[in-house]
Structures are given as C-alpha cells and as structure tokens.
C-alpha cells in the first residue's frame, strides 16, 4: 500500500498529525470570567463584613460563589475535552479553595479571626500559591505577576495595621482578580477569533 504513496502524500499526513495534536492540546478552557466572579465575591464579602455582619458574610458569600462557579463551569465545559493540564490547574485551585474555606471557617468559629492583618496575610499567601502553581504549569508570566502581587500583599499585611492590610487586599483583588480576569476573557476572545479565521 505504500508503493504508490508519494512524498507529498506522506508530508500531508505528517502535517495532519501535527495540526490535530496541536488542536487537541490547545487550551480550550474559559476561565477569565471565574476570576472576575470571585473578585466580585470577595468585594461583596468585604463590604458585607464591614457593614457589621462579619460572622455570616464570608461563609455565605463563598458558598454562594462556589455554587455559582459549579453551575456555570458545568455549562461551559460540557462539550470540551478533558486535558491533563486542565485537570492539574483545576486541582490546584480546588485544593486551595477547600483549604481556605476549612481554615477560615475554623478560625471564624473559634473566634480567632480577629487579626485582619493575619487574615489578609494567610488569604493572600494561599491565593499567591495557587497563582504561582498555575503560572508554572502554564509557563505564563502574566499569572506569575499575579502570584508576585499576592505574595507581596501577604508580606505587607504582616507589617502594617489591620485597616492598611485591608486596603492592600482590596487593591490586590482588583489587580489579580478583576483586571486579570478581564484580561483573560479578552485573550480567550482573541484566540477564538484567530481560530475562526484560520479555519475559514
């Protein structure tokens, strides 16, 4: 069967294999909206707790954000292929999210969640860890920048007053959740557009 195959046909098959493997590996995850959603959730929880309902604000907002994320993610990823990279990144965020929830819930119930600086330092360090791991998996410098911002926030929170730590936290949320989330969404839209043009 190989006798009548010419070089062009063989090259065509090599190109087909390369392009299909690249197509399969190309990231199809749509996650920018998730950063924005969680950024808004943090702002809602902060505003709510400042209003004077500290005990309920964070757990209720975080549970609501988790449920919303689950529903929206289920809809968005229904027809997308499962990739090892996607599972690795999902695991990192899921692990950090569950750890944060458990630790802060325990601190809240025990009544030890009174030091704002310490709370911001721990939360920022955990978010920095997730961003750092994710940026290493994806080899993505922009997300590495977010990790640096979160870790700098964690360090700063150890040395400033509680009110100042909260201001630094709010700024970090804006940069690493809202701005980064919108940047991710715009990037995904650009990739989809380019892919559409390439197939036209």
């Amino acid at each position: 069967m190989t006798g009548n195959m010419d070089e062009m046909d063989l090259n065509e098959r090599v190109s087909l294999i390369e392009s299909m493997i690249a197509e399969g590996r190309r990231t199809t995850e749509s996650w920018g909206w998730m950063f924005v959603l969680w950024g808004v959730a943090y702002y809602v929880a902060i505003a709510w707790s400042l209003w004077g309902h500290g005990a309920a604000a964070w757990p209720v907002t975080m549970i609501a954000a988790s449920v919303l994320t689950g529903i929206l993610a289920g809809r968005k990823t229904r027809s997308r292929p499962a990739t090892t990279v996607g599972r690795a990144i999902g695991s990192v965020w899921m692990g950090v999210g569950i750890s944060m929830f458990v630790v802060f819930m325990a601190l809240g119930i025990s009544g030890r969640l009174t030091d704002t600086g310490l709370y911001v330092a721990v939360a920022a360090a955990m978010l920095g860890t997730a961003n750092l791991a994710s940026s290493m998996i994806l080899r993505w410098k922009v997300q590495l920048g977010c990790a640096v911002v979160w870790l700098a926030t964690a360090v700063a929170a150890c040395f400033v007053s509680g009110a100042q730590a909260m201001i630094v936290f709010v700024i970090a949320i804006f940069l690493c959740q809202i701005v980064f989330g919108f940047y991710g969404t715009a990037r995904e839209a650009g990739q989809r557009k380019m892919r559409g043009a390439a197939h036209a």
Binding site: M1, T2, M5, D6, E7, L10, N11, R13, V14, L16, I17, M20, I21, A22, E23, G24, R25, G74, R75, R78, S79, R80, P81, A82, T83, T84, R87, H199
Partner: protein, 101 residues
C-alpha cells in the same frame, strides 16, 4: 537496502488519523468536539470512530450530564502504540523518499 515499513491501514484513513491525533492530546473528548475539530458529518464520524473502537484504539463511554446524553472517546494504550508506530513508519518512508530523490 532495508525493507520499507507498511503503514497501518486502520490508522491510514485521513479522518481516522485525524481522530487518533486529536485524542492523543487530550484525556477524553466528546463526539461533538471531535465533529467540530474535524469538520466531519455525524454519520462518517460515527463510522470511523466505530472502526477505531473495533480495532481497540479508542474506548467509548456513554453517560448523562444534566440529563443530556454525552458520548466520550479516549485513546487506549493500544491506540497510542499504534499511532507511535505509524509515525515512525511515516518517518522511515519519508527518509527513504528524500534519499531516493
């Protein structure tokens, strides 16, 4: 002169080759995703996937997600070996073609 390798006829079909290559880059993929990536029709895609399944190169799983049926395909170890051998055979043939030119 060394004997030239034969290309695996199951993989050699363009759509089947495209499908195996696509599946080699993901853990599992849904029928609709494969259809969108290959631009194939439902009937042709189903027939080619069945041939790959019969050869033991892909495994199929049917399930319901949010009450909607979902058919998932993933490459088996035999499929991965077959694709690797096919690529190696292609390389040998290309090398021979370049040498003879």
């Amino acid at each position: 002169m060394p004997e030239l390798p034969e290309l695996n006829p199951v993989i050699h079909g363009k759509l089947r080759l495209a499908l195996l290559s696509l599946l080699s880059g993901v853990e599992e993929a849904e029928f609709t995703w494969l259809r969108a990536r290959t631009g194939s029709t439902d009937g042709n895609l189903g027939a080619q996937l069945l041939k790959l399944e019969e050869a033991g190169y892909v495994a199929v799983e049917k399930r319901f997600v949010q009450r909607k049926p979902q058919t998932l395909y993933r490459m088996t170890e035999a499929g991965r070996v077959a694709l690797t051998e096919y690529v190696q055979a292609l390389k040998q043939l290309l090398g021979a073609a370049i040498e003879s030119a």
